[in-house]
Symmetry: C2
Amino acid sequence: MKSGAELGHEGSRQREHISLAEAIEILCGEVFPHLRRRVVKTPCRSAQGRVLAEDVLARRNVPHYQASAVDGYALSAARTKGASVSAPVEIDDTSCLWVNTGNPVPEEFDSVLMVEDASLLPNGSLRVYKSLSLGANVRPVGEDVMRGQIIGKRGERVTPMSAALFLAAGVLDLPLSEPPVVTMIPTGDEIETPEKMEDVPVPGRVAETNSTMVAGFLREWGVSCTICPIVADDRVRLEEAVLDAVKRSDIVLVGAGTAKGERDHAEAALASLGKILFKGLRMKPGRPAIFGMVQDTPILCLPGFPMSSAVVVWSILYPLIRWFLFGLSPEGDLLREALRAVSEPMKLLMPHSSPQGIAEWLRVKGVELDGTRYAVPLPSGSSVMWAMAEADGFTLLHPEQFELPKGISVSVLLTKDISWKTRILFQGSNDPALEHILPLLRDRGGDMVIRSVGSLGGLAALRRGEGHVGACHLLDPETGEYNTPFIQRLQEGVWKRVLIYWRMQGILVPRSNPKGIFSVEDFSRETVRIANRQPGAGTRVLLDALLKERGVSPENVQGYGVVCTTHLDAASRVASGSADAALGIKAAADAFGLDFLPLAEEPYELIIPGKYLSHPGIEILLACLQNSEWKHRVELLGGYRWPA
Amino acid sequence: MKSGAELGHEGSRQREHISLAEAIEILCGEVFPHLRRRVVKTPCRSAQGRVLAEDVLARRNVPHYQASAVDGYALSAARTKGASVSAPVEIDDTSCLWVNTGNPVPEEFDSVLMVEDASLLPNGSLRVYKSLSLGANVRPVGEDVMRGQIIGKRGERVTPMSAALFLAAGVLDLPLSEPPVVTMIPTGDEIETPEKMEDVPVPGRVAETNSTMVAGFLREWGVSCTICPIVADDRVRLEEAVLDAVKRSDIVLVGAGTAKGERDHAEAALASLGKILFKGLRMKPGRPAIFGMVQDTPILCLPGFPMSSAVVVWSILYPLIRWFLFGLSPEGDLLREALRAVSEPMKLLMPHSSPQGIAEWLRVKGVELDGTRYAVPLPSGSSVMWAMAEADGFTLLHPEQFELPKGISVSVLLTKDISWKTRILFQGSNDPALEHILPLLRDRGGDMVIRSVGSLGGLAALRRGEGHVGACHLLDPETGEYNTPFIQRLQEGVWKRVLIYWRMQGILVPRSNPKGIFSVEDFSRETVRIANRQPGAGTRVLLDALLKERGVSPENVQGYGVVCTTHLDAASRVASGSADAALGIKAAADAFGLDFLPLAEEPYELIIPGKYLSHPGIEILLACLQNSEWKHRVELLGGYRWPA
């Protein structure tokens, strides 16, 4: 039989791109045995949320004396024998004593008569209307807690209630698990502390935000994290930083920059200082994790992309932390624990293709449609921070799940509370003004998930029953009519139309229009690159109609295939110079300080299937459309006109 | 129409013993309009868990420059036209640039070719094997977040992920709801700061633990609480303390002592300083709450008993706190929010009688029996701190629910994680040694809920399918045989019997046996009061058999009706002098330093229905019975003998 160390050494070559389960096995077999847990005596009052390292035994009885449970007269039950309302018994004032609730019952008495079962006579003696059994209305010593009783079990967290119980039982200090000392070393030439970033940062410079996120997760687990100054992409400096951190830490995290490539020194540093236990996880995102030990201290190298970093923290760092806190091997639903989430089964609202053999993380929003709870996947990609922050929860798809049909059940780790009954799903045309209504909805207990799938995409989604509300601005080139022909063709049952406003559509070009673009005909010039919208977007429908009208073939338009899903996205590309022109609304041009050449004023209509008109979330939405705060915000965006 | 103030004044007489819903209505109508929320700018890094008071808008695009999404060569997509593995295209070194992931893509280029789709030639030029579309592998400016985009909505809590997002988008300070300033004034002549209590406290003296608990709940909600020194039961001092607290607080809590009666000054003080809005809630426990306003500051007087105090905090204080944090009217499942609980439907394992017209709180443990989740109510009574701390969750029974049959579904607010698959329910004979096995079970991922219902009660429960394991020591007086006759009569299917140990039963008397009690015959003396056990307890069965054998009628035994549910309870009563003798095991006598007169050595057997033998929790229990740590603990208790 081989020792763990031998196996570790021998196995290290094969330990690339391992599964999460294999990684956990390595933790159990080769890491935990080298670690030490510490117990620290801590005043009960500062122990909330911390973990008991040992059982807590009561140091005194609660109550520690025979106490009255009521307001009344302490006396001997034998003296009340036979007493009743019709045949009261009299007791002289030396044989009873007034007691309040909680007062001690003197030894010479054994029971307490409630005040309403007696009357005090002028001579001071008591008229008793009730016969008592021995011990009536007396809380015996130790009724609540007996001295020596186990009142806290090791591995339990201290709650407000248990803290009060411990204090009542005379336990002032608690034996707690000392949280591990965690140090994080951010690395990378391109990253910079956010507070030190310029207002308009140099291209290539990235704010170092992973350490804030990781420290935040650790804090949720009751562990604090020291964040080191950023270390440049230099192997010697990294090794120095790791060795220094190892001296004063139980766990060291090395945070990669978002850039990788030729500058990745973590692996080399780790191999030279200690040993690598595994490298690469069969997980997406989260693949580029490296784990090793230096002088019996676990070193976890985190990927640079935020979502990658987060999932490695949840799946590898948490089991380590948990071992230090609870001394428990990784069992049960660790990810749920790590995320402090509620596990909720939901159905996928749309099909999803996942790479085979690799566990994939989805970020999802939850919506309830006709009583069924659906998970709506948010944009994936390890670098999308907005989607991470916006997600209601996360799903880890099994490596063997690769073609997930619509409607399949997935288990979502919900990290946020959802107002299921008032939240609605919007699928339709993108409009920046719509986002501004969300805070108002939320103030009123409502909520809306917005999917910008284009005007046609929205109508199709409504037809499939996949949304509470859509929105469109669709020009029918043949009739020149907006929306009606499309709605008539697609509607199921009755769809309510609500004209919110007219929006000015036009051509977005850089300020002063350097390339002299004045119509869509100019899009076919060799030197002009446009940014387009996705198929089905009303704006693309408009572009296609205009191109056709002018006899321009899309094939001759450079950038026709560059797809943006929002007006602001398209405007941003023009602003940053990656496109020379795009179709979009005036609000988007204004937001980016672009020049705007008006083309058409389009009606932007909300579409609501009749059955959802009485949905509480739709009612809140319709009310908010009349809200003056929102209307004011919309007017500031520019290019909107309210219907008469 | 009357003003709120007038209504308040007029209605104040009727506002006694109101429902929770009425109390919330009063908060909305007469309290919230007088309060002020404050917004405080706080560095993003210290904002975790806090609540956004305003929407957060991105101050810059993320990424703020055109960035490479891969490691490779930045170039112009047009230059790769037609390239493939079989027909590569060559590009000179001035027309491309090596970029790492995250590096800026210079303006003159529009796409990035992945490193694996090219090879570098000796002359420095690039051989390209793939034709790129415009913008390939380039993250456009603002791909993740657009400047001006709403990236945090008012009312949301700051998470580790949103904090990172805000920093990335250039938002260093956040507009947060300032938590209300809460001050608690504990009152009562009989209460004392726990740290100041003597090791053996004076009878009548009670540790002031409610403020610790209340401050703990507030802390869970992100609110800190100043605890004032204890104020004696003196109206003038209380008024001074309240006025002082009002000056520097948004909310003032007055904590009653556990004693009430003639010394209750809170109501008078409140009426004289301001006005009382309601007094008394139709809730059990929690009835004696008083709520008022002094100089536009809400004053909540909490009941003295811990559970009473807790439920008033959850149901009245939390909506107030929530208003300060979120500015939201009380809607939705506030109690679930207050308890930070998961709502879980469970069936009641036993019938429960609840007072009609009053909402009752139950403290419950959860167990799963054959796939169904059951709630097992713990001892009620507002003063039982152990049950509060031990509970997995809480249920608020509707005022109209009064006779709840077994099996009825209740909604439990679960505050703890339960290992449903490995937790077992023990119903049977009480034994202090059994409690000591719990930490071992938990170390191994198991858990056990112990209900001491007596030997017979346990067998009956197993027969009804209401437990995974029981335990008994039942003497059949006719045959002199233990357990077998009872098991044969009651068992359903096959029950496995596991003899754990022999226990010495005897008579417990105070040290030196002052009343000279030597056999159960002495129990019939006029001067002797015993403490008995509940019907069905093996120890009571033994007592009855012995009394019968000696010809003593229970009617002649004082205290025969005094029921204790555990050996330690009975021993405690003898130790405290409220009983002169009791039957019990030697371990209980030893625990309280009592004299012990042996009567019989009894077999203590675990009983396990056959179908549960393979239950993971039972397997863990059976393994732990062999554990030397536990065996050692049992031996220290005294009076146990292991079977041969």
